[in-house]
């Protein structure tokens, strides 16, 4: 009797577990599934309200993707995003790697306080800074130029990556550098020749994170850039493809999928490190 109750309870637990997962996967992933369906449906099929929208009534079509790549500047936006991303990643690494190492090896309460202070600047949102920036960018003559984004985006990638790298460098035992210094390297030499080579995973995390932040950014992009050929993907698709009375839903959904899924797959491999960065030492 008791064993039967326990068995029932276990089955109930499993069913509950599955139900929770099904509910959340549906809620969170449905918009992407819906993008996928919409991308490959013909326009007549999309606009016929008699049809069951979950099914294909006309055979799947590549028409919307062809429109996206041939008749819009989508490809240009992808290239722009890539270029800005690479430039921002380089600037971020140049600034955040030395800063993260210096903070990790700074002794006393100063290091921690300064680290937290730098991290807090990451929380200052673009929606507070974009108005003064719009005038600064105009004065520098960088409106409509991708350089405006290259200049401003490190203002949020550097603080987070510095914090992320600080945690990473702290985990490397000091003995390694001490040994290298006894062998005749300077402190800086030990950093470059001993610490950097074993920090590849941490550096890669910073690269992925900075690049992801660039692809996600919208507020500065929509503020500084007005000509469609200089848009990044996250700005171009919602502002340029939505304007006017005609919504090219198929092409828009295709654009959203292409611009978000590959990054999500890469990000997935590094997510535990980001969590470590986000949780500010609350997990021990």
């Amino acid at each position: 009797m008791n064993a039967r109750v326990a068995k029932l309870r276990r089955a109930g637990g499993r069913a509950g577990h599955a139900a929770i997962l099904v509910f959340f996967v549906t809620f969170l992933a449905f918009p992407f599934y819906w993008m996928l369906i919409t991308t490959f449906k013909t326009t007549q099929d999309l606009q016929n309200t008699e049809h069951n929208p979950y099914l294909f009534h006309d055979p799947p079509t590549l028409h919307h993707l062809a429109v996206l790549f041939e008749d819009t500047q989508f490809l240009q936006w992808l290239v722009n995003t890539g270029l800005v991303g690479i430039a921002v990643v380089v600037i971020t690494l140049l600034l955040a790697v030395p800063a993260g190492y210096a903070l990790a090896r700074m002794t006393g309460p100063w290091g921690q306080t300064l680290g937290v202070a730098i991290f807090l600047t990451y929380l200052v949102p673009p929606t507070i800074l974009f108005i003064p920036f719009s005038r600064i960018i105009a004065m520098l003559g960088l409106q409509d130029s991708l350089w405006s984004l290259v200049l401003v985006y490190p203002s949020f990638t550097v603080p987070f990556c510095t914090w992320l790298l600080m945690g990473f460098f702290k985990a490397i035992p000091r003995d390694l550098e001490d040994a290298a210094m006894i062998d005749g390297l300077s402190r800086f030499g030990a950093f470059v020749k001993v610490v950097m080579p074993i920090s590849v995973a941490g550096l890669l995390t910073a690269v992925i994170f900075a690049f992801t932040l660039v692809t996600q950014e919208f507020v500065y992009g929509v503020t500084f850039i007005t000509s469609s050929s200089s848009y990044t993907v996250s700005v171009g698709v919602p502002t340029f493809l939505v304007r006017g009375d005609v919504y090219f839903w198929g092409s828009m959904m295709g654009a959203c999928l292409i611009a978000s899924v590959p990054i999500a797959i890469i990000y997935n491999f590094f997510v535990d490190r980001f969590v470590a960065g986000f949780t500010v030492g609350a997990v021990k």
Binding site: L28, P31, L95, R135
Partner: protein, 315 residues
Amino acid sequence: MTEAAFKSVAAAQRAPTGFLGRLADNDRWLVRAMLAPAILYIALLVGFPFLLSLWYSLTNVTVASPTMQFVGLENFRRIIESGTFWLSLWNTVVITLVSQLLVIVFAHFLAMALVADFRGKWLVRLLILLPWVAPISLGSIGWLWIFDSIYSIINWTARALGLFDPTFWPIWLGQPELAKASIIIVNVWRITPLATIIILAGLTSIPQDIHDAAAVDGAGFWRHQFQITAPLILPITLVALLFGIIFTFTDMIVVFVLTRGGPYDTTQVIASWAYFTGIQGGDLAGGAAISLFLFPVLVAVAIMFLWFAKRAEVT
């Protein structure tokens, strides 16, 4: 010989030459030299614009004007007297509180379901992370299509399942209350993944001994959840909540893409209203003053974070 003595002997043998050589080996100055570029960049690109925004809010600067005049608190007086301000503030607070409450509840359930190992876990994790990693503006466009006035898949499905009356066809983004609900849904959708993985990190850090001890003592499922697990992951839940509040409170993208603040400014939030006033309307001073109303919440959250950082240092 001690390690320090070893080092000094090594340093003496090396005898660094030139300014850079000496810098490379002087810890105090090296630290400063390595920190300075990052701090300078942040000061110039976060600190300076912030001060400029304070200054703009006290002037009458516009996009076109080459000069500006000090007008004192005139902009703030104008904002506080405007009905749109109070509506935006109310919307921002309601959207943030309701969405983050739902996020915390959802994230707990989902994190608990993800602690156990099961087949296909990596795929589930990838799928639930998508809303967080995808650019918000693009995710919001997906929702724009889901909430479409004619082709809304929600309405179609609900009608097909008999949940909606044949005459009932809500226009999600066209009615103020429904539009606000839509914005909340998209914010919940976007922040839930982040909160889930943060809380999941908290759950996996609880030592198994504690669960075992509770099981031996005969704690049931709910008692275990509320008296053992919940208090242990309270700090990390707060961290997830703080990030959720910051990202939702200061966001303008969801509103920008879904409703542009409409119908008739009824779904405007502080950040989007600052954009429409300052950038599209060209009233930089007004826009700067509006966006400064985001600042008190930011300060409050920053203080909470400092408190956490201190706590983490002590333990």
